[in-house]
């Protein structure tokens, strides 16, 4: 019985949906007539170099300690899975090579459920597809292996059949749209309110009558079926309808596999067709329907799944969501639960419980990436929780501050090598925290041998002794520590705040000071050449500083100074008592000297008026300058001399390539090579002048922040060194101009405000310690490594992130947990010496599957990005790209070979890594690493700087921007913060197929937001939010949302404002239309789509699959 029902469903749903897609859309067919995207195609899109069996691409993270330059070849694929040749027809194998296809069915069950499942349907023929379908669920639930087995065998169409996907001009996977007859608007359809379109579509569909079932599937589950796989396709493909009769073709293949019990009798196809129509009509209505039915049909499925599927269908979510959901296969659903829909949320626990039952944690649930289309969760991806006892986890460090790529640490290096995943930490140590316990005590309790600060994860042997959790030495508890200042009690050392908080700050005693705490010193070095005056940045800078001069962090000792330069260096004497600032010009730039020993850096409080005078006159002072040369090197030397007695912060504003005196640079960029697919040259510095100077600065506690405002090439690769080694930061405003780029001006203004007023730590050092047996070997970020684990940070700011790589030196056999501690010693702007300590505790595991279940895909991506930046500088960009691809291949291969007990076709990944290929692809398409798309060298280098320097949260937005539909925001599921209601639209996939002409979409890339207005955008949105009567009236350059007194406007502004509040720097907003110049930038971020030079997500997956099964 059950089987029958099952089959029937499959029959309709399976391959056919896919088949429909391609066949129905004639255009598509023509475009890619017979082309299958199977392996065979591979060569055609070579952007991804194939990984040769002897791994050509060096793994990014060699198992060995770390060899930056000579790439260690990635691992040798272990035993290859011969049984799974991707090649299409190899029926011989016990298991048919259904690389992709099988999964179709499941999706169907999910969304279409109501319709097709109708009893009649059951009766109807279960075409071959069935078998595949049955197969599919199997991965999800480990419980029914046997069952799966049986089903599995049916030799479905060769994987090559997948061809369908690429067809959409833009969209990679099969567009749901594609299935629709209409070429362009297709995407719209799915978006428009859910139910109606379906019907209409079905009608319109060409296949119409002949293929009713197929069409249904197409609609009800348009997205559901991962587009490509058409098991039957090979046969059915061109012929069109006849092919569809999947049954015919299907049955035959099915027949052979003796195993297939579930695959019931190959019923007649026709039946299937007939039956479907009715369901279709029902589909809309029936969807919300009771899951119960399904249960009956699918005995094999754990009830949980069906439940899950049902809620999705419900129309509670807004149309966009619904549309988005439809395509999903069942499996992803647990993740995708829309925030708003209570139903799914409630279900998730049950799902989790279920998976537990079957002894597979949710994170390890097998996901076939080729089939599960919509893996992106609707909300930002949360960090995984380490598998620790409740009490430890409760006090563990916040993942935003301290995060590890593997939340379960492998026991041995060989195990880590086997897992093929990078091991490292990502830190955001100086993050602005809303709540931070501060401890003042004369003695700071630390381990006597390894100097670890006492932390929540140490163990107290008794009242008087504690055991260090990093080196295991037993230490005494000092008398003073016995008293607890919080509870004012004695004898409870384990209740002290130090032992209760994983993040804590100590006020350091004088032993932690080599010299008296330095004052806050700010020196501004300003380019005033002709080019700089043209950009008009001086006005903005001076005005911002004037506005924020009282908000500069500091105390009564704060000092400021100014230097301007073109072909000469100008100093400003601001001594108290002068009636106006004195300019002192030094034209000897070869041997720079300070014209007067003091009063160039003056006390801000005492000389505020003079400083203000100077700031007011500065913009006009150079208005007429014709000097075009820039002696940046000499200016930096002068500034260094000025700051070296005290240390401090140097802010350099530069608008052109320095071309005079020391540190002069030549233009190295060949504009014709911008789009070259060959290797990118000149990613490394042209001179070591800037690096040397930066190291000198670092020694004198001077940090250099570089603001680059230039339309021309400035050789950021060389200039950036000045900030990189002095722990500064780089800000880049390409093509800045005060009139031509108002959005840049606004961003510059807001960034300056943040820059000037944010917290700052001076003369800082950071040390990262880890449990004995682990070792740290490579650091990423801006700093100078003073000794093996000590980072010298002349300045530390709240927007700086760091990453480190680790290896396992000794086996961690007898340990349950390991700990990591980052301690940042700095001088606050108030002259206090403070130590901020973060401690992270993670479990140690001994099995590969545990390691995989603890993988933190975002952290891995962030770390890989850092490693790839290093690689592109030391080796080459293509090397780095290979390495990233190999990272994905390696980890998935390792998973397939070592963890999966049941081998199945398709590209399988554990649920926790399901986004890994997507992120890797996003990295490959990121400005920093992309090839073939015109990218200015400075843009590329800047993107690289940011990847290394930004905290993970912001870096992830750069890598994989968030896309929201904003024309239909509702208060459903909204957050409520400070009495403001903030709607929470779903995060959409980055594919044009998600766009709709009737909508408005907001893309958030971290530093820039694009609001894309569809041509047929609802007039309501235009008038209520943008304040324009119609689409044509949307101004070309619109950078802000008008403050209208309408609910829609308030919602939109609340949402945008909320996004902005989440990050320190102000992202500018561009409202763009179809004709806008910026549309290209917007479209470049559509990562899942295919471009002229890069693979679509689906193609990328196929590429991975091919490499893996090699």
């Amino acid at each position: 019985m059950s089987t029958a029902g099952f089959n029937s469903q499959n029959g309709t749903g399976t391959g056919q949906t896919y088949a429909n897609g391609p066949s129905q859309n004639p255009v598509a067919l023509q475009q890619l007539p017979g082309v299958s995207y199977g392996m065979t195609h591979q060569p055609s899109y070579n952007p991804m170099p194939a990984k040769a069996p002897p791994p050509t691409g060096p793994g990014l993270y060699p198992s060995a300690p770390y060899q930056p330059v000579p790439p260690v070849s990635s691992y040798q694929p272990g035993p290859q899975i011969t049984s799974y040749p991707s090649s299409p027809g190899q029926p011989l194998l016990p298991r048919p090579p259904l690389s992709g296809p099988p999964s179709h069915t499941p999706p169907q069950s999910a969304s279409p459920s109501p319709g097709p499942r109708m009893p009649p349907a059951q009766a109807t023929p279960p075409p071959p597809a069935v078998s595949s379908s049955s197969y599919y669920p199997s991965p999800q639930q480990p419980m029914a292996p046997a069952w799966q087995y049986n089903t599995a065998p049916p030799p479905m169409g060769p994987p090559t059949s997948i061809s369908t996907p690429p067809r959409g001009p833009v969209a990679n996977h099969v567009n749901p749209a594609a299935s629709l007859a209409e070429p362009l608007p297709p995407s719209l359809a799915p978006y428009s309110t859910a139910p109606p379109p379906r019907v209409s579509q079905s009608v319109t569909q060409p296949p119409g009558p002949g293929m009713p079932p197929t069409s249904m599937l197409g609609y009800t589950q348009p997205g559901t079926a991962p587009p490509p796989m058409n098991p039957m396709v090979p046969n059915t493909y061109q012929p069109g309808r006849p092919a569809y009769g999947p049954p015919p073709t299907g049955p035959s293949p099915i027949g052979p596999p003796p195993i297939m019990k579930p695959t019931p009798p190959p019923t007649g196809t026709p039946v299937a067709n007939t039956t479907p129509p009715p369901p279709k009509g029902d589909a809309g209505l029936a969807q919300p329907g009771p899951p119960g039915r399904h249960l009956g049909h699918y005995p094999s499925l754990p009830p949980g799944y069906q439940n899950a599927s049902a809620p999705h269908g419900t129309s509670s979510m807004h149309p966009a969501m619904q549309a988005a959901m439809q395509p999903y296969t069942q499996a992803p659903q647990p993740y995708q639960q829309p925030p708003g829909g209570p139903g799914p949320a409630q279900l998730s626990p049950s799902l989790a419980a279920m998976s537990l039952q079957s002894s597979t944690p949710e994170a390890l649930r097998v996901v076939n990436l080729l089939q599960e289309r919509n893996l992106l969760p609707p909300t930002p991806v949360p960090a995984p929780t380490p598998c620790l006892p409740q009490d430890l986890q409760k006090i563990n460090c916040n993942p935003e501050v301290f995060r590890c790529t593997l939340t379960s640490i492998p026991q041995t290096q060989s195990l880590l090598n086997k897992a093929k995943m990078p091991l490292g930490l990502l830190l955001h140590p100086f993050k602005d925290l809303s709540q931070l316990p501060v401890v003042t005590s004369s003695t700071i309790v630390r381990c006597r041998s390894c100097r670890t600060y006492i932390n929540p994860f140490v163990s107290f042997l008794d009242q008087r002794r504690w055991k260090c959790n990093l080196c295991y030495r037993v230490n005494d508890v000092p008398e003073e520590f016995m008293y607890n200042p919080v509870s004012r009690s004695y004898g409870e050392p384990h209740k002290r705040p130090e032992v209760q908080n994983a993040t804590i700050e100590f006020i350091a005693p004088s032993e932690y000071m080599l010299r008296p705490p330095q004052p806050a010193v700010y020196l501004f070095v300003l380019d005033v050449s002709h080019n700089a005056v043209e950009t008009g940045y001086l006005n903005v800078f001076c005005q911002s500083l004037l506005d924020n001069i009282n908000a500069l962090p500091g105390d009564s000792r704060t000092k400021v100074g100014f230097i301007t330069f073109d072909s000469t260096i100008h100093f400003y004497n601001l001594q108290e008592g002068l009636s106006q600032p004195q300019m002192l010009i030094v034209s000897d730039i070869e041997d720079i000297f300070l014209p007067t020993p003091d009063s160039l850096l003056v006390n801000l409080n005492e000389c505020k008026e003079l400083v203000q005078d100077l700031l007011k006159s500065l913009p006009t002072l150079f208005g007429k300058t014709m000097e075009t040369q820039s002696a940046l090197g000499s200016a930096l030397q002068a500034a260094f001399k000025l700051l070296s007695p005290t240390g401090g912060r140097m802010s350099v504003f530069q608008t052109q390539l320095p071309n005079l005196g020391v540190g002069a640079l030549q233009s190295r960029e060949d504009p014709n090579q911008r789009a070259s697919a060959k290797d990118i040259q000149h990613l490394s510095p042209a001179t070591d002048f800037y690096k040397k100077l930066a190291l000198d600065c670092s020694g004198q506690q001077v940090a250099v922040d570089l603001f680059l405002l230039s339309a021309q090439y400035c050789d950021l690769a060389s200039l950036g060194c000045i900030s990189r080694y002095s722990a500064g930061s780089v800000y880049y405003y390409p093509s800045y101009h005060h009139q031509h780029s108002p959005a840049q001006v606004e961003r510059f203004q807001k960034d300056l405000k943040r820059y000037l007023t944010r917290k700052i730590g001076f003369e800082a050092v950071m040390r990262i310690r880890c449990t004995k047996g682990l070792s740290i070997h490579t650091f990423h970020g801006n700093f100078f490594v003073r000794s093996t684990d000590l980072l010298s940070l002349p300045n530390v700011n709240p927007d700086a992130g760091f990453a480190v790589q680790m290896s396992i030196e000794d086996n961690l056999d007898d340990m349950q947990v390991v700990s990591f501690q980052a301690a940042l010693l700095y001088t606050s702007s108030k002259g206090e010496r403070r130590i901020r300590v973060h401690t992270l505790c993670l479990p140690v595991v001994s099995s590969l599957s545990d390691i995989f279940s603890g993988a933190d895909v975002q952290a891995m991506t962030g770390l890989l990005a850092c490693m790839a930046v290093d690689r592109s500088v030391t080796a080459s960009l293509s090397d780095a790209r290979d390495a990233m691809t190999n990272a994905a291949i390696d980890s998935l291969t390792s998973y397939r070979q070592s963890v999966l007990t049941i081998q199945q076709p398709g590209l399988l990944a554990p649920a926790c890594l399901r986004l890994f290929p997507l992120y890797i692809l996003a990295l490959l398409k990121q400005k920093a690493f992309r090839t073939g798309t015109s990218t200015r060298l400075d843009d590329r280098v800047f993107a690289m700087c940011q990847l290394k320097y930004q905290p993970l949260f912001y870096a992830m937005l750069m890598i994989h921007p968030a896309l929201y539909r904003v024309d239909d925001l509702t208060d459903e599921g909204a957050l409520n913060i400070n009495e403001r209601t903030i709607p929470q639209p779903r995060v959409l996939q980055l594919s044009v197929e998600k766009l709709s002409r009737e909508g408005a979409f907001l893309m958030d890339t971290g530093t820039v937001m694009y609001l894309w207005i569809g041509r047929n955008c609802h007039p309501n949105f235009l008038t209520q939010v943008l304040g324009v009567p119609n689409y044509a009236a949307v101004p070309e350059n619109l950078y802000l949302l008008p403050e209208l007194d309408t609910a829609e406007s308030q919602r939109t502004r609340a949402f945008v404002g909320w996004l902005r509040d989440q990050r320190p720097f102000y992202p500018s907003l561009h409202v763009i239309r179809d004709e806008s110049q910026l549309k290209a930038n917007f479209m470049q971020n559509m990562i899942e789509d295919r471009t002229a030079s890069a693979l679509s997500y689906y193609e990328f997956l196929l590429h991975l699959q091919q490499q893996i099964s090699k």
């Binding site: 004088s510 105390d555 007695p645 002259g831």
Partner: protein, 215 residues
């Protein structure tokens, strides 16, 4: 030339304020003086003379203790002593005015680091040769600086060390003599036992002899 100025609490040597040296010319060795200054602050106590000059190579430390606060400066040896103490005196007046009452309560090092601003200003006025003349006339009635004790920095720093060395030696001696005493006792007892045992053996032999062969 005043190179370094430090204000510390006498009771525990906690530094309260300091002026960062300008070491453009004088070079790196200031670091060494700085640590000496820190040590010195810790060594000083209520019993120390309240005005003193300590010679350290071609530099002099001058210090002044008043109201539980020590004002210490490092000057070149050629810098007039009178000037130096006038400077410290000035610092004291201002510091006591501003922070005097809060001195005993603070626990954080360099709590009054903002005093640095004033120190720098004073330093400038004293170092400036033009201003020096004026100051000289102002401070004519300055107490007789000749009576101020002069000592060598090494001696002062090592005085404590010598004492502690003596202390350790004495305690070593004590423990050694204790050990000797117990050893001697032990030996005594042992020899006593040996004697007793010898006598006992003799008598036993005698008895046995008498018992078996005599009779």
């Amino acid at each position: 030339m005043i190179l370094l100025t430090m204000v510390a609490r006498v009771a525990d040597g906690l530094p309260l304020a300091a002026s960062i040296q300008e070491d453009e010319q004088s070079g790196r060795d200031l670091q060494q003086y700085q640590s000496q200054a820190k040590q010195l602050c810790r060594k000083l106590n209520a019993q120390s003379p309240d005005r003193c000059t300590l010679e350290a190579g071609d530099m002099n430390f001058h210090y002044l203790i008043a109201q539980g606060v020590c004002y210490l400066s490092l000057c070149e040896a050629s810098f007039p002593k009178k000037m130096a103490f006038a400077y410290l005196e000035d610092l004291h007046n201002e510091f006591y005015d501003q922070y005097g009452r809060r001195v005993p309560t603070v626990t954080r090092p360099y709590s009054f680091i903002e005093f640095d601003t004033y120190i720098q200003k004073m330093k400038k006025s004293y170092v400036d040769s033009r201003a020096r003349r004026n100051l000289g006339s102002i401070n004519t009635e300055l107490q007789d600086v000749q009576r101020i004790m002069v000592a060598n920095i090494e001696e002062v720093l090592q005085r404590g060390e010598a004492l502690s060395a003596l202390d350790t030696k004495a305690s070593n001696l004590t423990s050694l003599s204790k050990k000797y005493r117990s050893d001697a006792k032990y030996l005594n007892t042992r020899s006593t036992y040996a004697k007793v045992a010898a006598v006992a053996v003799f008598f036993i032999t005698l008895i046995i002899y008498v018992r078996f062969w005599w009779l």
